[in-house]
């Protein structure tokens, strides 16, 4: 596969390490009353769709960026690639 890196352009996916569902960015609040349940769901349950999937790829043999790749799990087509850091910030993550 080819991943269109936002900074580096097309790169062979073999350069990347895959981690899966981009919801792993949304780490729950440990101080919440429902934290135990939240962390279980965060850690273990997945939509696992047959279709479009936002997922995390690490450019291990490249610039060491984590990317959020929107990819179709049926066709492998990729429609969007973003820097995970930007996505994390846009979802309200900070320090």
């Amino acid at each position: 596969m080819i991943i269109e890196h936002p900074l580096l352009g097309p790169r062979d996916s073999a350069e990347f390490t895959y981690m899966g569902d981009a919801r792993l960015i949304d780490r729950p609040d440990a101080s919440s009353e429902t934290a135990a349940r939240d962390f279980y769901e965060y850690g273990y349950l997945r939509e696992n769709p047959a279709g479009w999937h936002d997922e995390l790829w690490f450019h291990e043999a490249g610039d060491r960026s984590w990317l959020v790749v929107t990819r179709n799990t049926l066709t492998h087509e990729i429609s969007k690639v973003e820097m995970a850091r930007d996505v994390a910030r846009s979802r309200g993550r900070s320090k």
Partner: protein, 981 residues
Amino acid sequence: MSQVNRLSGGQIDTGQTLQFKFDGKSFTGHTGDTLASALLANGVRLMGRSFKYHRPRGALTAGSEEPNALVELRSGARQEPNTRATTTELFDGLLANSQNKLGSLKFDLLSINDRFSNFLSAGFYYKTFMWPAAFWEKVYEPIIRNAAGLGSLSLQDDPDVYDKGFLHCDLLIIGAGPAGLAAALTAGRAGADVILADEDFRMGGRLNSETFALGDHSGADWADATVAELAALPNVRLMARTTVIGAFDHGIYGAVERVSDHLPTPEANKPRQILWRIYTKRTVLAAGAIERPIAFENNDRPGIMLGSALRTYANRFAVAADKRVAIFTNNDDGHRTAADLHARGVKIAAVVDVRPDAPRSTDYEVLHGEVVNTKGRLGLTFAEVRLGDGSTRTLECGALGMSGGWNPNVHMTCHQRGRPTWNNDIAAFVPGGELPPGMSVAGAANGDLSTAGALTGGVAATTAALKELGFKTKKHTLPQTEDAPVNLTPYWYVEGCKRAWLDQQNDVTVKDVQLSHQEGFRSVEHLKRYTTLGMATDQGKTSNMGGLAIMAELAGKTIPEVGTTIFRPPYTPTAIGVLAGRHTGQDFHPKRLTPSHKWATEQGAVFVEVGNWLRAQWFPRAGETTWRQSVDREVLATRKSVGVCDVTTLGKIDVQGADAAAFLNKVYCNGFAKLAVGKTRYGLMLREDGIAMDDGTAGRLAEDHFVVTTTTANALPVYRHMEFVRQCLFPDMDVQLISTTEAWAQYAVAGPNSRKLLEKIVDQDISNDAFPFMACMNTTVCGGLRARLFRISFSGELAYEIAVPTAYGDALMRKIIEAGAEFDVTPYGTEALGVMRIEKGHAAGNELNGTTTALNLGMGRMVSKAKDSIGSKLSEREGLNTADALAQVGIKPIDPNDPVPAGAHLMKADGPVDAAHDQGYATSACFSPNLGHAIAIGFLKDGANRMGEKMRLVSPLTGVDVNVEIVSAHFIDPEGERLRA
């Protein structure tokens, strides 16, 4: 007599005569021949035996779709089984042997199977061989296994090498027939970066096999001229002998270039083949079409082949398959074969056409009818024809061409989601469904079966593809050429036959398909799997359609209603060697060498693989005959005086930034915010699921600068994890990470005399007051070389780790040895390191096995409740905190002579020994030269509360069952006085 069937002309060089041997017999051929064409030229039709019935077989085709003419090519370690004689380029000295036979090719004892074919019908083996049960492995299966298989491997290591490579282009054109050449011309002239790949050693495809002209040229001449023009274009890369094997995601194609297969052996240092990974923006598939056989009684005898193959042998290779040839056809193409052969002086016994309105000829007889049977034990002698009026005729012939129509070569269009669709005009499947993105199809592969159609199709597909890429193509005039319409009556098999072959290699007949239907195996996939139709080395290129058509007829459906068969990569079978490339033997993985590697080699160190690292395992000395002697000596010497060990392999990560401490507070379960500058702390890192991930130390060199160490094995995963935490979880933390594992040569100097030794090397005061336990600093050594010093200990002794830039690592090691001579400094390897850490009860890889928690490791209290760190929440789950949770313990034998092996399980002293009563297991074990007996550490249920308990340690696998006592894992200096000294 040599080359009795050689004609004149063709695209072979009769000036170059080549010697070759088949089954020990010598023959001659010419440059430009294939093994099959040369054998046919010499009158040899019998080339192999079929898989199941061991029927005599000759070449069915003249290309890579060949199911029958498979040989063992070359000899010795280069023996290559199942090699298609039809694509094997002849070279001087070529050696080939027939395969899959017991006895000689002519008298194959296993042809007895053919006599019993009635008992060996499709799927017969599923219904028998069940009794007695033990007989399967002992009796039935060995017989079946030895009879099955095709050719043999030599079982010697492949002596050749293979390369891999990477190419980038705008347009990849697969196939250099008329469509591919026209495509390449269009793209080449437009300035696009083009790769034109063809599996054949001669470009031109069918143009080399046909007699019709393109403009004023013969097809072959036009192909030559076109190839010459393309070769002159710098933007075009011509790749003959190159098979594109698969269309992978996003325009990545695999291709195998056979660099040396046409040579007796590859040139020195050159690869036999190259696997190219081609990155292309667009692809034009111009892979042509493959002719279909017709199924009739005994249609598998040597001499019976595709009509188009007869034409290829005659026109391209100047070979008549035999002096007398008959044709069996359902379309006009069969007549073209007859005309071409006739023109070359081959006697046409007759053309048998199933169509009553078949074209007539003045040159040879055309019969309306069907071939219903053939004769000839090892090669065709007669064909029996049932005429339209019901009468029969027997034709004397040594070759028979079958023309059942053409199947577009849709193989590569199916590699992703494409499913071919039915085209009634040519009664064949054509590319359909979703083609691999960026691919278009041209020429015969797309169902345009005329030469003119191929040319215009090639140009049109290329023009459209290049337009998308922003290239402007120029119009060029195409030569006038053959543009005959397809005139065909679908016809698949002759009714009423007893055995009519569909899949010639796997011996699947029309009857087998009928039986499959009768037994309910009616979907295409069931048919294939039950009968093995299409599962042979040709993957059904010549057989699938026939099976499908018969199944459709039996089911009372149309062919597309029954389904289609799709193809999977590779396009043709591909050497496993080329897919591995250079990554064989010692080059399987890179080696990582430590800075003291050269020095350690000089010392005669024994090395061990640790991931990709090679580490000194121990340093044998004269007189030591076992590894234990060396290791014991190294341990004792270190604990007595001082030892040195290369620990460069530990992962090192530089963590800097204003939020560096806050960041480490997140990734370690214990606290780091308050660590003072100049101090080091042990850190335990959890995965988010609460399980221990890695441990190491972090030294604070400055308020905003830490140096983190990881275990050797986890350097990369920990770095990746830390980047995830940094970029995805806490994107606004000011923290920067970079690996420095290889930037520093780092040595552990351990033992009571380590300070004295290092005082001779380090330029600063390192007294216990100035540089106490767990201190760290930037410093200099040997009069000014920048260095880092950590007072940390894995051995449990007074110990330091000292680091200098890698380029000085070799020199520093030599300096340490020199400076330590007065203390008898002893270099130690990973074994001694392991012994000392087990003696101290330090957890390592065997304990951090991905299932253990901080609690299990005896560090439950380290998980800070005061902060949220990765893994802290999920580590609180009930299942990880049961009263009898495993806890790390020490294990010592009651009888000091007993072993306590790692991997053995702990059982209660008086309880049963079985899985249900398992209490725990030993993780790491060694002989402790300090204690004089074996020791182990391990995990025991509720271990912390079972100190002193007598238990059994059992390893039925290795025959160990010993009595042990549970003790603290800190066997040596439990109070830690030595390391603080």
